[in-house]
Amino acid sequence: MVKEKLRDIWKKAKLLPSREDDLNKSPLNDWLIFMAVFIGMTLIALTFRSVVQNPDLNITMFYILGNFLVARYTSGYIFGFLYAILSVLLINFLFTYPYHAFNLTLDGYPVTFIAMLAICLVTSVLTTGLKEQARLLIRQEEELMEAQKEKMRANLLRAVSHDIRTPLTGIIGNSESYLEMEKQLSDEEKRNIIENIENDANWLLNMVENLLTVTRINNETAKVNKTLESVDDVVSSAIVRFKKRFPESTVKVTLPEGLVMVMMDPMLIEQVLINILQNAQVHAHSTRPLELAVEEREREVVFAVKDYGIGIEEERLGSIFDGDGTYSQESAADGNKGMGIGLSICKTIVMAHGGCIEAKNHGQGTTFVFSLPKETEEQ
């Protein structure tokens, strides 16, 4: 984040070439820059000479500055070189005695000119090299980000195919055994089979809904379409949907006294709340009702879901949102399917909102906390 911001600032200050700049640049542009700088510097030097006595040294400074600019804003070495040679010749022609004539034999002057030529050439080489390096750095960073994205995509795909296959196997197996053994099965067994199918189907639905939410996040910018929404509405809607799936569960909801409005995609934040609540409901084995509390702070709104269950091992806390710890022995052993992609989708959504999410143990269970930044509609 910080790096990106810095780069933005650099780009604005023109210290780093942005990619578009480089692409749009044509040789014509370079020529224009070259001419403009060269003529501009000559004009300045001429003006300077008419004002100040004995200005020779300063005039070379102007040209060196111009050389720097040309090397910086044109591509390749060629314009820098050209500028260096031309400016040395022009200084000789215009600003050293005899004026308006070339004279390379004056005492000491050849040394000055050679030194200036060297300075100009070195400047132009160094500046161009610097530019090249900056561009390389940016490309490397972009490649790194691309690789990370690719890794995330691969992880997600693996998790998804696993998560889809598991309930599908259950549905197909149960319905096949019903169709094949309908006559031998007792009513209770039949009911059991249908219930299993319903469970698996619900689980699958939950997954698909999660995946669908991800399509609401812009692929290019990783941003979401935010509107000003009331926290009340999102929380109440999430609770209603959660209860529809777990009718016997209870959640203690604490909302701020007054109305709190936050910029967000309400469907996505609802999904985050549902995922966290479901995760707690299914995995935590909470001994008391779950607690959902919303708190308004100066610059952010904080949502916290607290359970009184078995907690999460400390070493898993850090990676629980990355989908890495999903299929650990622990979750396989307690007979539940892994939370699958639910929590990593929570992280994706919250990050896309510019917020942060974390899980921590509070002694008697786990608290999942995420925050959304408060911003105004204009932003």
């Binding site: 009340d232 999102v234 929380v235 109440s236 809607s237 209603v240 909801v253 609802e270």
Partner: protein, 237 residues
């Protein structure tokens, strides 16, 4: 024997169509099924059903077009079947005249409740004066339209004028989703600010006055991105 109500189901997915037809038949409705938009429109004009269940994603035409065409000549209740995550589509359908929507996947209970509500509201147009002034009552909440009084478990709740307007609008349309825009139009008039912040503020206050736990509402439910829905009136369901 009472006349059975006829429901036209326009849905291209055969399994869903079958499931809805079976459920409705079991609840004493007569059903007609159409798998394409054209077929649906033909049945609409030829057999004049009492209610239409309409899937928006049809193979031959946009479901929205069917609503538009139907609304030119009929106020027959239309319930749109839509997927979650498509709140813009839902609002669009409601704006051009659909009565309500149901989100896929839905259970039989939800389906029957929506149908009952829609049919009840369509009857209300006929005997408006009878129903309109009867108090709303559900789960301990009573809205007396004549006395302009709201009580929860027999305790009077003091609402501001605007808050009362919102509550009575939702109560008169109980069980049905009312879009944000409709509420704003009805309460603040057509020239109100488009920004629905003022509605959210009032809703937050209403919830804190009538709901026991505002985070877990009993009476007024949020349909995210669409609007609000009030618990169905007990006397009418």
């Amino acid at each position: 024997m009472t006349q059975k109500l006829t429901v036209l189901i326009i849905e291209d997915e055969h399994t869903i169509c079958d499931f809805m037809a079976k459920t409705l038949n079991a609840h004493d409705y007569k059903t007609i099924t159409a798998h394409t938009g054209r077929e649906g429109l033909a049945y609409l004009t030829s057999s004049l059903p009492d209610l239409v269940l309409l899937d928006l994603g049809l193979p031959d035409m946009d479901g929205i077009e069917i609503i538009k065409e139907t609304r030119q000549w009929s106020s027959i209740p239309i319930i749109v079947i839509s997927a979650r995550n498509q709140e813009k589509e839902k609002v669009g359908a409601l704006d051009i005249g659909a009565d309500d929507y149901i989100t896929k996947p839905f259970g039989t209970y939800e389906l029957m409740a929506r149908i009952r509500t829609a049919i009840r509201h369509s009857n209300k147009i006929l005997d408006d004066h009878v129903n309109n002034n009867r108090p709303y009552s559900a789960g301990g909440l009573v809205v007396d339209f004549e006395k302009r009084r709201v009580t929860v478990n027999d305790k009077e709740v003091h609402l501001t004028r605007v808050e009362y307007k919102i509550v009575s609008l939702l109560a008169k349309n109980s069980g049905k989703v009312i879009t944000y825009d409709t509420i704003i139009n009805e309460v603040w008039g057509p020239y109100a600010d488009d920004n629905n912040r003022i509605l959210r503020v009032n809703m937050a206050n209403i919830r804190r006055k009538i709901e026991e736990t505002p985070g877990e509402p009993k009476y007024i439910f949020t349909e995210l991105g669409v609007g609000y829905r009030m618990l169905e009136d007990e006397n009418l369901s």
